[in-house]
Amino acid sequence: MTPATLYGLCSAVLVGAGLYGALVNPQPLRKILALNLLGSGTFLLFGVIARRGAAAGLGGDPVPQAMVITGIVVAFSATALAVALLLRVYQETGRTTLEQPAPKDVV
Amino acid sequence: MTEFLLAASVFILLMVAVGLLRVLRGPADIDRMMAAQLLGTGGIAALLLLGTATALPGAVDVALTLALLAAFAAVMFVHSGGSS
């Protein structure tokens, strides 16, 4: 087993864990955390692919690495915006959970 | 020499794992935070060892960044009054 394969498996498990947490956890803050796990797993997969594409004296393909940097920046912005929204919802309602949509709205 | 550095980094990572238990168990939030800080220090040490052992480019600069930012996270915690 090469290190790249090892980290590839790690990214697969991270994606699964993040997806499960994002789907199941009822608290928005925990959902945001889980989404960050999901994002980290995704980025790590890019990293593994970059590592396997090592050539030209570089330790990895720089293109996916650059994509990850862009992705991390976007993920941070998303976290900041989602957290700010959550804090404002809490300010207005005193609740830290999202109530389910009113019964008449759902099937 | 490389073997020794690698072994040392594995050892430090294991120590970090022990410290991690404190993060998980608490009991107080400040315990968790301090444990995370310790983990930061250990992580930087492991990083420097690994970096030297396998001649990774930029390891020292990453360590520098980590050191600055880890201190920052601790400050954020202290400021948040989360020491209960």
Binding site: P64, T70, G71, L81, L85, D105 | -
Partner: protein, 496 residues
């Protein structure tokens, strides 16, 4: 003289520069910048569409001279031209409509809502034009995020608790969606070493990595497009936003992720997904039509009804997948029909949400039960609402009719009559929820309606103008559009 291909860059950079400038200028400057961008953007869209129309060939521009796979290319085909024109028309109307709401009086301190609205309007436009033009799947990811980051604040613009919660739920859905999409990008890059759409279409083979990537990306984009059963976030978000923002979200923003799905299925990975997958997508679309329409029928508030109608109308778009997949006359008809449905819905839905906004302003509420006699009190607005409704129902002559007729004919021509049944049922249900609003409004109540506020004529005229555009789309001949085929046939030929 600017080279025609350079217009592709300007279409994206003009609204992007607008965002930066509006924030730097602040206050009254934001609206002025937005108006200039609307004028410039419309001219650029017309110029690009005109070039494609006259030359009959697609345009492409390589950024910085770095050709793909290393660099990024922008490409405009017939679909891009249609979408550029639609977004310019709808955003222009919304911008003019919103001037009355988002004013910044001279000499007063900067206000929050106007600045945010104008900046986000240009943000949405940047994202949309980037979706229509980007030729690279990762650039399209950034474009999707541009859409998310400008759409979410529009939902919560009024700061009411329920809209804040709706915005948060929308944000969480959108984030899962974009990460799943990004995951697919990683797999495709790992498989073929490029994310350029044209290069991928040549390299991609039906193999596991592509199937997994396509499944993940489609699921993520479906969440962003609010395809049934991932539609739960849409109604509260679109109904809770202010009217101009609802119009923008329902008409255009959800279409961004849909077009990306089209680019994925038809352009990047043509012929990879089997017929079963295409049938499955259309089945979900059918479920969206039925469930969305039934729920629209049961809503007591007008804006929620319109939002559920969006869930239903999005469903029709998914008939593209089984009907327009192959090369053939019926398939070309379905292609035009599906894209026309998108355009017609965008125009009609924007008009409808703005009309609903005016009704809400005039009455002080939007409960359908209190609409008796509204036709006499707000004749122009109700007329515009009715015209837009005709398009949703698919009555001739309207854009919606043309679109649904083409989809219907194509589905029968291709021997997939079951989709024709769904299209007809959907039309009936749409008629049901439209008449629930129109009948009391036109019948006249016992007492004359007392309006809480007067609605200025120009704003009524904008809504009516857009509704008439939805009607005029119905003049389009019932055959495949030549413009829409630009860049499509050649590409299909290249692949096959």
């Amino acid at each position: 003289m600017i080279a025609p291909a350079a217009l592709l860059v300007l279409a994206i950079i003009l609204p992007a520069a607008g965002v930066v400038l509006a924030l730097a200028a602040g206050g009254r400057g934001a609206e002025r910048v937005a108006m200039a961008v609307i004028a410039g953007g419309a001219a650029i869209a017309l110029a690009i569409a005109g070039t494609l129309w006259s030359t009959g060939a697609p345009l492409s521009y390589i950024i910085g001279g770095w050709a793909p796979p290393l660099g990024i290319a922008l490409r405009a085909d017939g679909l891009s031209a249609f979408m550029l024109l639609t977004s310019a028309l709808v955003i222009g109307a919304i911008g003019l409509f919103a001037r009355a709401t988002y004013v910044q009086p001279a000499g007063t301190p900067e206000r929050r809502a106007p600045l945010v609205f104008w900046i986000m309007l240009m943000g949405v436009w940047t994202g949309l034009n980037a979706v229509w033009l980007a030729g690279d799947l990762f650039s399209l990811y950034v474009a999707l995020e541009l859409l998310t980051f400008s759409a979410v604040p529009l939902v919560s613009l009024e700061g009411k608790p329920e809209t804040l919660a709706a915005a948060l739920r929308y944000m969480l859905f959108a984030l899962i969606g974009s990460i799943l999409y990004l995951l697919g990008c990683a797999l495709l890059y790992g498989g073929y070493g490029t994310l350029d759409i044209v290069l991928l279409s040549r390299l991609a083979r039906p193999e596991p990595v592509v199937f997994v990537a396509l499944a993940l990306m489609t699921a993520g984009l479906a969440a962003k497009t609010a395809l049934f059963p991932l539609h739960l976030w849409l109604p509260p978000a679109h109904a809770g936003a202010p009217a101009a923002a609802s119009a923008l979200l329902s008409a255009l923003v959800v279409k961004g992720s849909f077009i990306l799905m089209v680019r994925l299925w038809f352009d990047s990975l043509p012929g990879i997904a089997g017929d079963g997958a295409a049938q499955f997508m259309a089945a979900l679309g059918s479920a969206a039509i039925i469930v969305g329409s039934v729920l629209a029928l049961r809503q007591e508030r007008l804006k929620l009804m319109i939002a559920y109608s969006t869930v239903a109308q999005i469903g029709y778009l998914f008939f593209l997948f089984p009907l327009a997949g192959a090369a053939g006359d019926w398939e070309r008809l379905a292609w035009t029909g599906g894209i026309m449905q998108l355009v017609a819905h965008a125009v009609a839905k924007a008009a409808m949400f703005m009309a609903a906004g005016l009704i809400g302003e005039a009455l002080g509420h939007d409960r359908i039960a209190g609409f008796a006699g509204l036709g006499r009190a707000l004749p122009v607005v109700m007329f515009a609402f009715g015209l837009a409704g005709m398009s949703l129902m698919g009555l001739p002559p309207s854009g919606g009719f043309v679109a649904k007729a083409m989809l219907l004919t194509a589905s029968i021509g291709e021997g997939q009559w079951w989709w024709a049944v769904v299209i007809m049922i959907g039309g009936l249900l749409a008629a049901g929820y439209m008449f629930r609003v129109l009948t009391p409004a036109l019948a006249g109540g016992a007492a004359p309606v007392i309006l809480a506020a007067r609605i200025s004529r120009p704003r009524q005229a904008i809504v009516l103008g857009l509704a008439i555009c939805a009607l005029l789309l119905g003049l389009m001949p019932l055959r495949p559009s030549a413009l829409l085929e630009v860049g499509r046939t050649t590409q299909a030929a290249e692949v096959r």
